[in-house]
Symmetry: D2
Subunit: 311 residues, 4 copies
C-alpha cells in the first residue's frame, strides 16, 4: 500500500449529552486506534453535538474483507467505497456503536477511498477546467468518472483531458426522460458525488431523491440574492460594490440548500456587466473548488439546512 | 491662511458629448487654475459622462467676497459653505459654465470648507465612538455640530467629547412633531450632512425632502438582504458564511438608496448570533466611516440610484 | 453566581502519543465534567500534540476553596486568578494529571476569571481607544487595571474612561530604572497580561523575564518586514500594493516573537505616506484587538516561536 | 473593421507643470478625437505627473499608413504594433507633441493591437494553464505566439492548446547560449511581452537589456519577503498567518522590480508546507493573471522602481 497509512474519518451529530467526546475517544482508543484530529461543535440553542474525528485504526482493522452481512446504516454511497478500501469491519462496528450506544448519526469515510465523481456541465467551461486541473494536480482525492453535458460543447475538452463525456440533452418536454438517463448512468458508474459546474438545468426533487448522494452546486450570487435570474445584471443595476458566489448542496428548494462556502469580490462603477461576469467566473470557480475539496476531505457535516465545516 | 492652498473640487455629470474633458480642462487652464486630479467615467449604456476634477485656482479667484447676486444652482447646502471659504466667485462662474455651456449638473466644494455635520444616534455607541474618534484624529474634514439622539443614552459620552447632545424622543404618535424639531435644529445649525450612526428610526420622505442635504445611513446587512428585520438572526438561521454591511444615502425607499460602500466578514458555524452581532459592529463602523470620508472628500457622485465613487 | 456556569479551559501540548484525546476526555468524564469544545492539532513533523479543551466541571469541583498547599506548575499568573474563581482544586488535579501522566505542559483558565491587564501606551491613541471601547462593550473578559505611558499625553483620555494612568518616563539613561518601576507596578497590581498599544519603547529581555507573563505587541508591518524603522515610509518607497500589521507576543528578539494574528489592507499609487499611516492605524487596532481577544479566551497556544490559534 | 472602433491609449509621465491636463485634452479635441477615459496622478513629493488617457481618434487618423520617416521615441516594441494597426500617423504626432511640447515620456497603444506574447515555463503548470484558459476565454487582448520551456514537461499540454512549444534547456554552463537562443526566438516572433509563468531561471541583466520589452514575473512571496529561497518553508517555519504573491516587472535586480500586483491568503497552524504551496499556487495564478491583464490594457505605468496602476 501507500506509505501513509489510511485513516478513518467520522462525521457524527446527534442530541448533546455529557461524555460524548470521552466515549467516542475511548471506543477508538480501546480498539488500538490513534486519534489524529478531533473537532467538536455544540449548537447550544438546538442542543446538538457535532464531531469530526480522524484516526489511524490499528493495522488489523484495515486488513480484513468486508463481511457479506455487514450493514452500515446511514452511510449511504460512502458505504460501498468503504468496502473497497478494506475498512468495512471497523466501519460497521463504529456505526453501530455511534448509532445504538450514542444515538448519533454517523458518516464514515476512509482517507484511502476515492469517491466516484460526475461533473455536470452546460456550455460555460471555467469551473469545469478549474476542477479538472485541480484534480489532475492531486488536490482532489476522488475519481472523475464522467462528464455529463446537456449541451455537447465541452465534449472535446473533456476528451482532451481523457475524460468520458456523455451528452444528455434536456428540454422541458424531455426532462423526465433525460433525468432517467442521467440516473441510470450515475448508477452504472456508481457515482457518489455530482458536482454541478455551472450546469444550467434545475435538477428535480425526484432526481435528487433517487440519486440519494450529495450534489454540490455553485450559485453565481451571494445568497441572499436578488430574486429572479441574471444576478450580475441585477447587481449592476443596483450599483452594489461587491459581488458574490455561493457553493451549496442542491436540495429540492432551489438555491435554498445548505451553504458550504461563499466569497465576494469588489466591484466599482467602472465595471460593466461584462466585468462582473468575468470577475464572477473567478469567484465561482474558486468557491466551487473549495467546497468540493472540503466535501471530499470529509469536512462538511449537514444538519437541517446548514453546514458545519470543520476546516 | 494655511500653508496648503485650498483646492476646488467639482463633481459633474450629464449627457456625454465629444470634447467634455478638453473643454472643462481648458476653462480651468484659461483662468490660471492648475488641475491636480481629474477622474472621468462614462456609462456607455446610458450615455452619461461623470467627472471629478480638483484644481488649485489662481490666487485672485479665492480672494474676493461672494457677490450678493450669485446663484449656484444645484450646489445645495455646499453653496453656503463656499461663500464662507471665499471661493464663491469662481464657483458661480464654473457652475454657470458647466450648466449652460455643457449641460452638466455640477456640485462644487472647496478643500478649505468644513461641512457642518450632525450625527443621529439611538442607543448603540460603536459607530458613534468610531466616527468621533476619527474626526478628532483629523480624518474627517468637517465640523460635528450636534449629536441628536431619540434616546438619552449617549448624552454623557457626547458631552465627554465636548459635543452638543440634543435629545429628541420619537414615538409613533410624535414622529411628525419630532421630525419638525429635528429639522428646525438642522436649519438653525446650518447642517449640511446627517450621518445616521445606527439611528434606529426611519426618516420620513417628507423629512428627507425638507432637509434637502445628504443623509448617510449604515445598514447592518449586505444588500441585497434578507427581507424583514434582525439580519444577523436571519443570517445565522440561513447558515451563511459571510455577513455584510452597507453604507448608503437615505432615500424615501428604505434601504434602497444609492450604495456608497459595502464590506463583508467571514463567519462559521462556531459563531452564534452574538458573535455575528459583534463582528457586524466592526463592519458597520468601518464601512460607515469610509463612506463618510469619501463623501466629505467629494468623491461620491450620485446618479439615479447608484453612485460613482472616485476613490 | 452568574447564570452561565463557569467553564474550564485547558491548553495542552507535549509529545504526541496514542490515546491522548481519549485519556484527557476520560479524565474529565470520570470527574463528572461535560466537554463543550475540544480542538486538537498535531504537528506531524515535530511530533507534538496540541489541545484546547473546554468543559463544565461538576458543581462540586468549583465550590471548594483552594487548598493552601496546591501548586500548579507552569500555569503562571493564571494560577492566582484560578484561586479567586474557586476552581483551584480541580485545576491542581488536572495539571498534575496532564503533567505527570501524560507529560504535557498545561495552561488552565476559568471562563469566570478576569485576568488583570495593563495597557502600555506612548502618544498614539488609536489602539488605546479601540481596546478600551471594546472592553467597555464587553468584548474582552478582563479587568484593565492600569494604563502605563512613557509620555503623559494619554493621561486625560485614560482618566475620562475612569482608568488609572501612570506616567513612567523612559530615556536611554533611565531605562533600567523605569523598567524597575514598571515591574513594581505590575506586581503590585498583580497584572497577568500587558498589551503594548503602540508603546514605542522596546522592553528589555530582563523585563520580560522578570514579568513572566505574556506581553502582546502590535507591529506596524507585515512581518517579514522591511529591515529598519518607519515601515510605512519604506512600503511607500518600494511601491507595495498591500500594507500589513502583525500582533505577536513580545520576546527578547524584537519583532521575532510568536505571531498571533496578521492582516493587510490594499494601497495604490494614490496613497501617500500619510494615507498608509492612516490605513495602518485601522489595521493595527483591529489586528491587536483580535489578538487580545483570542488570548483572553484561551485560544492561543505558544510553542517554539509559533502559535496555535484555536479560533 | 470591428463594430467597436479602435481607441488609442496613451500613458504619459514627466515633470509636473500647470495646464498639462488641458493641453493634452485640447490637442486630442482639436484633432477631432473623443476622450473616453482620462486618469491622472501627481506624485507631489517628486513633482511628477502621470496620465492614462484613452480616446477615439477621428476616423481619418486611423486610415492612413505609417509614413516611412515616422519615429516614435521611447515607445519601444509597442511602436511596431502600432504600425500594423494603422494608427501610426496620429501616434507619431502625439508622441512628438507630448515629448517636445510637454517634455513627457509617452507610451501609446491601440485597443486594436494584439501584443505578441511569449510564456516562459519550467515544470509547474498552474500559472500556465490559468493564463492560457483566460486567454482562450477572451480575457487577454494578445496573441500567445510561443511557450518557451527550460524543461520539456509542458510540451504536450502546450500542444494540446495548439500552442508552439520551444524547449531551450538552461544550465549554468549553457546559460549565455540558451539566452541567445531565447532572444533570437523572441526577435523572430516579434515578441512584445514575456510572461514568466513560474519560470525557475533568473534572466540575466544582459538578456533583459537586449530584449528591451517588458517581462512580467510572479514571485511566490509577499515582498518584502524572507531572504533566500523556499518562501513557503520559511513562512511555515516563522508561523506567519498570511502568505502572499507578488507580480512585478523583471529587472536586473532580482525580485526588486516594480510591483504590479500583490495579494495574500490566510493560513493557520493547521496548514503544513504542502498546504501553503497549494494555496500559494492559487495566489500565484490569480495575481499573475491580473497583472498581465492590466499590462495588456495599458493600465500600468512604470517610473523609477514603482508602478502607477490605473485600474
Amino acid at each position: 500500500m501507500s506509505e501513509t497509512p489510511a485513516t478513518l474519518i467520522a462525521l457524527l451529530h446527534g442530541p448533546d449529552q455529557p461524555g460524548l467526546v470521552a466515549r467516542v475517544a475511548g471506543w477508538i482508543f480501546a480498539r488500538g486506534g490513534n486519534i489524529l484530529h478531533a473537532d467538536q461543535h455544540r449548537d447550544t440553542e438546538a442542543g446538538v453535538f457535532f464531531q469530526r474525528i480522524e484516526w489511524e485504526p490499528a493495522s488489523a482493522d484495515v486488513a480484513g474483507d468486508r463481511p457479506a452481512s455487514a450493514e452500515v446504516k446511514g452511510s449511504g454511497p460512502v458505504g460501498s467505497e468503504a468496502a473497497r478500501s478494506g475498512t468495512a469491519a471497523i466501519e460497521g462496528e463504529f456505526a453501530r456503536f455511534a448509532g445504538e450506544s450514542l444515538g448519533m448519526k454517523v458518516r464514515l469515510l476512509s482517507s484511502a477511498a476515492r469517491p466516484r465523481v460526475a461533473i455536470f456541465v452546460s456550455k460555460a467551461d471555467h469551473c469545469f477546467h478549474d476542477l479538472v486541473l485541480r484534480w489532475k494536480a492531486g488536490d482532489f482525492p476522488c475519481d472523475v468518472v464522467a462528464v455529463v453535458g446537456n449541451h455537447p460543447d465541452l465534449a472535446a475538452v473533456a476528451g482532451g483531458y481523457g475524460l468520458r463525456f456523455v451528452h444528455i440533452p434536456v428540454s422541458a418536454a424531455t426532462k423526465a426522460e433525460a433525468e432517467a438517463r442521467q440516473l441510470a448512468l450515475l448508477r452504472e458508474l456508481r457515482v457518489e458525488l455530482v458536482v454541478l459546474a455551472r450546469y444550467m438545468q434545475v435538477l428535480s426533487a425526484d432526481f435528487l431523491e433517487q440519486f440519494g448522494a450529495p450534489v454540490i452546486n455553485i450559485h453565481h450570487s451571494f445568497l441572499p440574492a436578488f430574486a429572479g435570474g441574471r444576478p450580475y445584471h441585477q447587481a449592476h443595476a443596483r450599483g452594489v460594490k461587491l459581488i458574490g458566489a455561493t457553493a451549496h448542496y442542491a436540495t429540492r428548494d432551489l438555491d435554498e440548500g445548505p451553504i458550504i462556502h461563499q466569497d465576494v469580490a469588489r466591484v466599482t462603477h467602472r465595471h460593466g456587466v461584462d466585468d462582473l461576469v468575468r470577475k464572477g467566473r473567478d469567484l465561482e470557480r474558486s468557491v466551487l473548488a473549495q467546497a468540493v475539496r472540503w466535501h471530499l476531505e470529509g469536512r462538511v457535516l449537514v444538519y437541517g439546512n446548514k453546514t458545519v465545516v470543520f476546516d
